[in-house]
Structures are given as structure tokens and as C-alpha cells.
């Protein structure tokens, strides 16, 4: 067993790539995901996001749409057109929310399209797990607290 392999085996957590240009938001998502038991990589624009996705092969990608240089849709398109990254489920998390915007996301192959206002960052972990388990984007409703 090489050192590298040993290192890899040690770390059985799944990697999630967060592509978000707002550093504050990116940190929030990263924290929430780490709390959820994931390893998190962060990229701050589409170019970086594509590059990291290609080399790190995350299990899931959280993708913002409005980013400088290369926007989310363009990144998504490139992700899905390269063999190494086409299978990775992409969850679009954006403050865009109109029907035609969701539609584009779906057409390009995103697994989920969630508006930032819809989601509580604390539930991000559950969301990723649900997607990875193949259950789609639906979050189970929170149990009513009384």
C-alpha cells in the first residue's frame, strides 16, 4: 500500500465541490456540508470550478449560476460534455428562479435546480445525500416541532 493509497483509504468521506463566487456564501455552504459529513472543495468561478471538477472528481457539484468569466450554465454545459465529469450530479443553487431559467438548467442536465431562497443551508447535507442516493431533489419535510 502506497502512502497515497493509505491516505485515500483513510479518508472515506465523499467530496462535494462548491462553485460559488460569493466567498461568504461559499463558506456557509462548505461549513454546512462539512457538518453533514462531506469533504468540501471550493471554487470561485466557472473556470476554476471546471478545472477542479476534472481533477478532483467530486461526488456532487453545487453550482451557482451567476459567476464572472464563465457562468454556471456554461460550466454545466462543459461539465456534461466531458466524459470525466458528465456523470457527476450537479445541483444548481442560484438566486435565479424563473421557469425558463429552471428549464435551461434541466435541459443542460442539472439534477436539481434550487433557489437560494428556498433552501436552508443547514439542510444542504440531506439534499446531497438524497441526490446521491438517487432519490432526486426532494427534501423530506421537517418533522413538526412542538
Amino acid at each position: 500500500m502506497t502512502e497515497k493509497q493509505a491516505n485515500k483509504e483513510k479518508d472515506v468521506r465523499q467530496t462535494v465541490l462548491v462553485v460559488e463566487d460569493e466567498p461568504a456564501l461559499s463558506d456557509i455552504y462548505a461549513t454546512a456540508l462539512r457538518n453533514g459529513g462531506f469533504r468540501v472543495e471550493q471554487a470561485y468561478d466557472g473556470v476554476e470550478g471546471l478545472d477542479k471538477a476534472l481533477h478532483l472528481r467530486p461526488k456532487a457539484i453545487l453550482l451557482d449560476l451567476l459567476m464572472p468569466i464563465k457562468d454556471g450554465f456554461d460550466t454545466l454545459h462543459d461539465l456534461k460534455s466531458h466524459n470525466d465529469t458528465s456523470e457527476i450530479p450537479v445541483i444548481i443553487l442560484s438566486n435565479l428562479g424563473q421557469d425558463f431559467e429552471r428549464r435551461r438548467g434541466e435541459d443542460l442536465g442539472a439534477s436539481c435546480f434550487i433557489t437560494k431562497t428556498e433552501l436552508q443551508p443547514t439542510r444542504l447535507g440531506e439534499l446531497i445525500e438524497s441526490v446521491l442516493a438517487g432519490k432526486g431533489c426532494h427534501l423530506p419535510p421537517l418533522p413538526k416541532t412542538k
Binding site: 468561478d45 466557472g46 473556470v47 476554476e48 471546471l50 478545472d51 476534472l54 481533477h55 449560476l65 451567476l66 468569466i69 464563465k70 457562468d71 454556471g72 450554465f73 466531458h82 435565479l96 424563473q98 421557469d99 425558463f100 431559467e101 428549464r103 435551461r104 435541459d107
Partner: protein, 831 residues
């Protein structure tokens, strides 16, 4: 005469309409045909009766008159019925009025048959006599007919096209028939003139109606007068014919007026002549009789003072007097009592002292005068002179002569009066020959103060009257002689002349119009050829030559046209070649450019995907810029290639149903990031109800929408608004032809397009100067391509724009007609 013309015209109409009925089998045409036939028969019968100088009993003529009127009211009813069936529509009011008129006439006919012997035919329009109310009914009947006509004309403004024309026909028909009735009853040229006018208008309008109804061009059916406006030869012919007719009519009116004056003068002369002859005859006779009795004064003989009762003249008279015919001889005593008369013993003892002539003679002056001889019973011209009687008293010899001899003299010399006669001193008619004086003429005579044989007067009803006084030998007026012509006689020749003129006018007008149309058709033939050649040139056929080489103006025009045509042909071919070369160049260039662009693209991908080794962040960003630029270049090349192909026509556009809303959604999606980056609100509301599918090429429509929407995004500033709407419409463009389309409108509040550049917007390579200066990117091909693509699919594209305020672009795509079975089939095949 006009009745003959009308009969012929009506029959021609019948023949034509009947032939149409046989061809088209429309019920309305049959009733119209029979209407015309009835009219034709009626007019022919009228004409026949007049020509044959029909005169039967009053009842028979009255019956015929009423039968004729029945036809007059029945025929238009049939025609109106036919027209209404042909035109459609609910002419309930017209029909009711027509039925009413018909009913009235039938009622009057029924009345006649029950009261046959009481009927008495009198000439006149509104006749009131024993069976007066039957005529009242008839009059009401044709008043209803007039009402129908007036209503039709008034109503025609409310409808359009053929129906309007049909109503005008009804109006003309009613007017024609009304004037026919008037002309029948009144012998005045005016109604006959109007009759001809309206008959002509009727024929022309009917012809227009028939021709326009069958015309293949819907614009003509809509407004039949277009037929005249569109044909140069018809217009010219109608104008010229009208002009001719007006001039002819004016000329004829002048001639008629002169003729009437002349005729009147000659009639006046003749009337005066009659009066003069009569007066002269009376005076002459007076003189001659006077001479005869003067002989006695010079050769006094004693005449018997008592009548011997034999009736023979006393012997000493017979050698001096020849008694022939209507000569009366009387001898009176000094008291004026008749002692001898060859008239009979009944006169003996009667006093003739009342006669001025007798009084004059008894006082020693031989006198003569015109007197009404009560004993004889007729007016006589008498002369008297004193004679010695054998009982040594003074008596008088009175010789008289019947005034009839003067009447015969007047006749023998060609007196042409309708009547002439005598009036006594007191103004009472005494004797007359021919027609008697009307009361009106009598009142005219009594109103005259001076009797001058040279003056002929007109009575108020239009007759001529000449009166002159007859004086006795003492110079006193003893009576008046008159001669008159009745108004009918005065007018007769004018009426006859007017009828002939009108007939000639109608015939001349028809012939001239036909001749003009034929001539103009020949003269204007080169214009038609020119028009056809021009149409061919417009379609792109430059080989069509106008073959008219005569040296007149048309020949010049044709020659110039031919030269122009060949020049344009050459130019067009050259231009087309240029464009083709340009297009080919563009297609080739685009094709050539794809290869190096592909190389760029692959190289960029190799770099960024790490196949040449992992790049650092800065390098990756540069490569990303390169990639985006390459994509833009690809887009430009694609546009260029498409633009070239669509111009040269090698552009395949498929026609299939697709969902337009889906296409628009996709396009909106591609713009979502730019919209957010510029903070532009896209107001895109999906229609509430499902739209019909669009019929066209989904890919091309995507291109169109993408071009227009990305333009809107490009040219709208920060925080702007774009409104996107789609709906089903019934026109291809706001003022375009009707059809089923889906319309997409994109409204922005961006920089707009300057007013003076708006007509170049769809040109190839056009970029508005405010777009160029604002540093937005574009090659200018977008809108050019959009227009071509939209039109290729069968839609239209348009825009409205205000510089600085924004633009609205709209385009249409044909929609599937839900009733169209074939498209539904392809829909089900698709699913």
C-alpha cells in the same frame, strides 16, 4: 314609338335572363325572366293597339287599360322577387309594398268584372267617374310601385356592392314604369323623354349588374362600378357617349324649339287665315247682297203688299234676283212685318224690326248685317233696302244668305281650324263647325276687348284662338267670327317630333357606345399588350416583347418599353450574378473559416481540460476568454453562411407542427444570465389557454427568437425591462392578410432605432449608428436573416421604435388550423 323600343328592350332582357336561368338554374332568374316577358308583352300590345287605331267600346278599352296596368304592377314585382332571390337578403318591406300594389290592381279588376256595364273609359291619370274607386285603386297600386322604387333608392345607401346596384335597378324600373303610365295618359313630350332616360339607365345598370355578378374579380363584385373605372375603353366610351348624347340632346332641343316656334307660327297663320277668310266672306256677302238690294232702290218696282201664298216670287222680282240654295227673300211693310217670305207662310206677320238692317232699310238706307235668324234657325247674312209696296207704303226687301256658304268657302280654301263659328254681340256662341269651344276658350273670348283680325291668342290650355269682329254696313259690330286649334292639335306635331328624336337619340346612343367601345378596344390594344408585357417583366420574364411597330405615339412607347425591358433584363442579370457571386463567396469563406475555427476550438479544449498538463488559474482564465471568443466567431460564421444561403434560396425549411412556447422558453433560458447581469426584467407570461401548434421549422424559429430577444437584451440598458408575449392572431401582420397565426412581440425600453434609419433596419449589414457607437457587438446580419427566415416560413416581421424609448419587434408564424385534418394526423403521428 317609345313603347316599341321598350317592348324590344324588355324582350331582350327576358331572353338574356332566361338564358342565364337555363345555365345557372337559379329560381330568382326565372321570375325575373317572366317579369321581363310580361313587360315586353304589355308594351308590344300597347304599341299594337295604338298603331291599329284601336277603338272599341268604352268598356273594352277600359278593360284593356286595366289589364295593362296590372302587368305594369305585376312585372316589377316579379323582377323584384327575382332580384331578391338572387341577392339574398330580406326585402320584406319592398315585397309587402309590391304585394299591396298588386292586390289593389287585382281588386280593381275584380270590381270591373262585377260592374262591367258601368265602366266608362276616359282618358286621364286619376279618373273619377261611375266606377271611380276602381281607378282610385289602380292609382294607389302604381303609387305603391313608385313607393317601392323610392324606398329601394333610399335604402341602397345602406347596403353595398351588388345589392346596392340591384336596388338602384329597382328604382330605375319603378321610375321607368311610372313615366310609362304618365306618357300613356298625357300627350306631352316631357314624360316620354324621362321614360327614355330611365329606360336607358335601367338597361345600363342591369347590364352592369349581370356582368359584375359574374366577374371573377371579387373587388368588382363588391363594387360593380369598378368595372367601368378599371377599363379605359369603357370609361372613354361612356364619357364620349354621354357627351355626344348631351350635345345631341341640346342640339335637338334647339331644333325642336325652333320647329315648335315655326310650327306654332304657321298654325297661328292658318288660324288667322281662317278667321280672316270667314270675316271677308261675311263682309263680301254683305256687300254683294247690298248691291243686289240697291238695284231695287235704283229700279223701284212696286212689290205686292200681300202674300199670295204660292211661295213663288212675285214676277217683277224674279228677273232681278236669282234665288239659289239658301237665299231667303222677305218683304216687310213699313212696320217691319213680313208680308212675303219664300221661307213659308209661318213667317207672315212677324216683325223683323229688331234687325238693324231692316230698320236701316226702312229709314231709307240700304243696310246689311249678320244676324241670327230666329225664323230660319241659323245665322244669316242679310241686306235690306227700302222698296215701294203696291199699297203705296214704303216697305223693305230683305235678302238673306246662309252663313254656311262662308264656312264652305273657308273649308275650300284650306282652313285648318279644329273649329270655327260665330258669336253674337252678347258673346254667346251662335253657330259652329267642328269641335265646340271649350268653356275656357269662351271665357278667353269674352275677356278680349279689341278684336283685331291680325291677333291670334293662346288659351291657357295651349290652344290657338283667333277672333275678329264682323261689322254691319253701318259700321256697328254685329257679331264675331272665331277659329281655334285645340291644344292637342297644337302640340301634335311637337309630340311626334319629340318621339322621333328620342327614339333616334336612344338608337344613336346605343350604336355609338358600341362603336366607341369597339374602336377603343382596337386603339387601346397596344396598351393591353404593354400591360401584359410589364406584368411579365415584373415576374422576371425579360423576354416578353411588345409587338407594336406602327409609327404613332403607341409605337414610340412600345419601342421605348422594349429597350427599357432589355436594359433592365441585362442589368438584373448582372446584379443577380453579382449577388450570386457574393453569396458564393460568403458561403465559401464561411466554410473555409470553419476549419481554422475548429482548430481553435479543439486546441482550447485540449488546453483547458488538462490534456496538455494542468494549467494554473490565470492561464485557465485566458483560455476561457479564448474559448468564448471562438464561440462568438463560430456564431458569426454561421450567420454569414445562413444569410448567404437564404438569399440564394438554397435553404431548407421544414414545415412541421411544434410548440412555440417551448421554443421561446428555451431562448429565454439562454439569455437568463445576461438578463441578470444587466438587471433587466424579462416579463414573460405564458398564455393562459393552450395555443394551437405553430406550423414551421422549430430550429429556424429558435434562431429568429434568439436573434430578436438577444437584440433586445443587447440594446437595453441596465435595469431595463423586456416584455415578451405570444398569442394567436387572425392576421399575418397588423395590416396584413387574414389567416391563422401565432404572434410573438418583444418590447424593450432600450436605446431604440433612430427614425431616419428605420427603413434600413432589415438590410443586410445594417447597424444603427447608436448601436455601433454604443460598442455592442454584432455583424448586422441578424435582422436581415430574421426577416428572411420569418418570411420563408410564411409569416411577417415588423417593428416600432422610438430612439431613446425602446423598440417593439413582432413576428408571426403560421398556426395549425385546428380544422385542418392533415396537420392533426401528423400530430398524432408525432405522439
Amino acid at each position: 314609338m317609345s313603347e316599341a323600343v321598350l317592348a324590344v328592350l324588355s324582350f331582350a332582357c327576358f331572353a338574356y335572363v332566361y338564358r342565364e336561368y337555363r345555365r345557372r338554374k337559379a329560381a330568382g332568374l326565372l321570375s325575373s325572366a317572366f317579369g321581363f316577358l310580361a313587360l315586353s308583352a304589355a308594351f308590344a300590345a300597347w304599341f299594337g293597339l295604338e298603331t291599329a287605331n284601336f277603338s272599341g267600346t268604352g268598356a273594352a278599352v277600359g278593360l284593356i287599360y286595366r289589364l295593362f296596368l296590372l302587368v305594369i304592377v305585376l312585372a316589377p314585382f316579379l323582377l323584384v322577387d327575382g332580384l331578391q332571390r338572387a341577392m339574398g337578403g330580406n326585402w320584406i318591406r319592398l315585397k309587402t309594398a309590391g304585394l299591396l300594389g298588386l292586390g289593389l290592381v287585382v281588386a280593381s279588376l275584380v270590381e270591373i268584372f262585377t260592374d262591367f256595364d258601368d265602366v266608362d273609359f276616359s282618358n286621364g291619370l286619376l279618373v273619377f267617374h261611375q266606377a271611380w274607386w276602381s281607378d282610385l285603386l289602380i292609382s294607389l297600386g302604381w303609387l305603391a310601385l313608385l313607393g317601392v322604387g323610392l324606398y329601394a333608392v333610399w335604402h341602397h345607401r345602406r347596403v353595398s356592392g351588388l345589392r346596392s346596384l340591384a336596388l338602384i335597378v329597382v328604382g330605375y324600373l319603378a321610375a321607368t314604369l311610372a313615366f310609362a303610365i304618365i306618357a300613356f295618359n298625357v300627350s306631352h313630350p316631357a314624360p316620354a323623354l324621362f321614360l327614355a332616360l330611365f329606360a336607358m339607365s335601367l338597361i345600363v345598370t342591369l347590364c352592369l349588374l349581370v356582368v359584375a355578378g359574374n366577374h371573377p374579380d371579387p373587388a368588382v363584385v363588391q363594387n360593380p362600378y369598378h368595372l367601368i373605372r378599371r377599363s379605359l375603353s369603357l370609361k372613354t366610351a361612356v364619357l364620349q357617349a354621354l357627351l355626344f348624347w348631351l350635345l345631341y340632346l341640346a342640339g335637338m332641343v334647339v331644333i325642336v324649339v325652333y320647329f315648335v316656334q315655326f310650327d306654332l307660327a304657321s298654325k297661328e297663320g292658318l288660324t288667322r287665315q281662317t278667321t280672316v277668310r270667314l270675316t271677308e266672306c261675311v263682309h263680301d256677302s254683305q256687300e254683294r247682297l247690298l248691291d243686289q238690294v240697291r238695284v231695287f232702290a235704283l229700279n223701284p218696282r212696286e212689290l205686292p203688299a200681300e202674300y199670295d201664298g204660292s211661295g213663288r216670287l212675285p214676277d217683277n222680282l224674279s228677273d232681278l234676283i236669282s234665288i239659289s240654295g239658301s237665299r231667303l227673300v222677305r218683304i216687310v211693310d213699313s212696320q217691319g212685318r213680313v208680308v212675303y217670305s219664300n221661307f213659308g207662310a209661318s213667317e207672315l206677320g212677324q216683325s223683323l224690326f229688331g234687325w238693324p238692317a231692316v230698320r236701316g232699310a226702312l229709314s231709307g238706307i240700304p243696310s246689311a248685317s249678320l244676324e241670327e235668324d230666329v225664323g230660319y234657325g241659323r245665322p244669316v247674312i242679310m241686306a235690306a233696302a227700302s222698296v215701294a209696296l203696291d199699297d203705296e207704303s214704303q216697305g223693305a226687301l230683305v235678302i238673306s244668305r246662309d252663313v254656311d256658304e262662308c264656312y264652305q268657302l273657308a273649308d275650300a280654301f284650306g282652313g285648318r281650324a279644329d273649329g270655327y263659328g260665330l258669336i253674337d254681340r252678347l258673346g254667346d256662341p251662335v253657330s259652329a263647325v267642328g269641335s265646340s269651344l271649350s268653356a275656357e276658350a269662351l271665357s278667353t273670348i269674352s275677356a278680349i276687348d279689341e278684336y283685331d283680325a291680325a291677333a291670334v291668342r293662346r288659351t291657357s290650355s295651349g290652344g290657338l284662338l283667333a277672333v275678329s269682329s264682323v261689322t254691319d254696313s253701318a259700321g256697328q259690330v254685329s257679331g264675331y267670327v272665331y277659329a281655334f286649334l285645340s291644344p292637342a292639335t297644337v302640340r301634335a306635331s311637337a309630340v311626334g317630333l319629340a318621339a322621333v328624336i328620342i327614339l333616334m337619340a336612344v338608337v344613336a346612343l346605343v350604336l355609338m357606345t358600341l362603336a366607341l367601345i369597339a374602336t377603343l378596344a382596337v386603339i387601346l390594344k397596344p396598351i393591353r399588350e404593354l400591360r401584359e408585357a410589364a406584368a411579365a417583366v415584373e415576374k422576371g420574364d425579360y423576354s416578353r416583347v411588345v409587338e407594336y411597330d406602327r409609327p404613332d405615339e403607341m409605337g414610340d412607347l412600345a419601342g421605348t418599353f422594349n429597350q427599357m425591358r432589355s436594359k433592365i433584363g441585362r442589368q438584373t442579370k448582372r446584379l443577380e450574378r453579382h449577388i450570386q457571386e457574393q453569396n458564393d463567396f460568403m458561403v465559401n469563406t464561411a466554410h473555409e473559416m470553419r476549419t481554422p475555427l475548429n482548430v481553435f476550438s479543439w486546441t482550447v479544449d485540449l488546453l483547458r481540460f488538462g490534456d496538455t498538463g494542468r494549467l494554473n488559474k490565470a492561464q485557465l482564465e485566458l483560455v476561457e476568454q479564448l474559448r468564448q471568443t471562438t464561440q462568438r466567431l463560430f456564431g458569426l460564421v454561421s450567420n454569414m453562411s445562413d444569410a448567404a444561403k437564404v438569399s440564394s434560396g438554397e435553404f431548407a425549411v421544414e414545415v412541421k407542427p411544434f410548440r412555440l412556447v417551448d421554443v421561446l422558453e428555451e431562448v429565454a433560458g439562454t439569455q437568463s444570465v445576461q438578463l441578470r447581469e444587466k438587471d433587466i426584467e424579462l416579463d414573460w407570461r405564458q398564455p393562459i389557454s393552450e395555443l394551437p401548434p405553430a406550423l414551421g421549422d422549430a430550429q429556424r424559429t429558435y434562431q429568429i427568437a434568439l436573434n430578436l430577444i438577444s437584440n433586445a437584451v443587447k440594446y437595453t440598458d441596465q435595469h431595463g425591462k423586456i416584455k415578451l408575449r405570444v398569442k394567436a392572431v387572425s392576421r399575418r401582420s397588423p395590416d396584413g392578410p387574414k389567416g391563422r397565426y401565432l404572434q410573438v412581440t418583444i418590447q424593450d425600453n432600450g436605446m431604440g432605432i433612430p427614425q431616419d434609419q428605420q427603413d434600413q433596419v432589415f438590410n443586410r449589414f445594417f447597424r444603427a449608428r447608436n448601436a455601433v457607437s454604443s460598442d455592442t457587438q454584432g455583424a448586422g446580419l441578424g435582422l436581415f436573416l430574421v426577416k428572411k427566415l420569418v418570411e420563408r416560413q410564411g409569416g411577417a416581421v415588423w417593428f416600432e421604435s422610438t430612439e431613446g424609448a425602446g423598440s417593439l419587434f413582432g413576428f408571426t408564424v403560421p398556426a395549425v388550423d385546428v380544422r385542418d385534418k392533415s396537420s392533426r394526423k401528423s400530430e398524432s403521428e408525432k405522439s
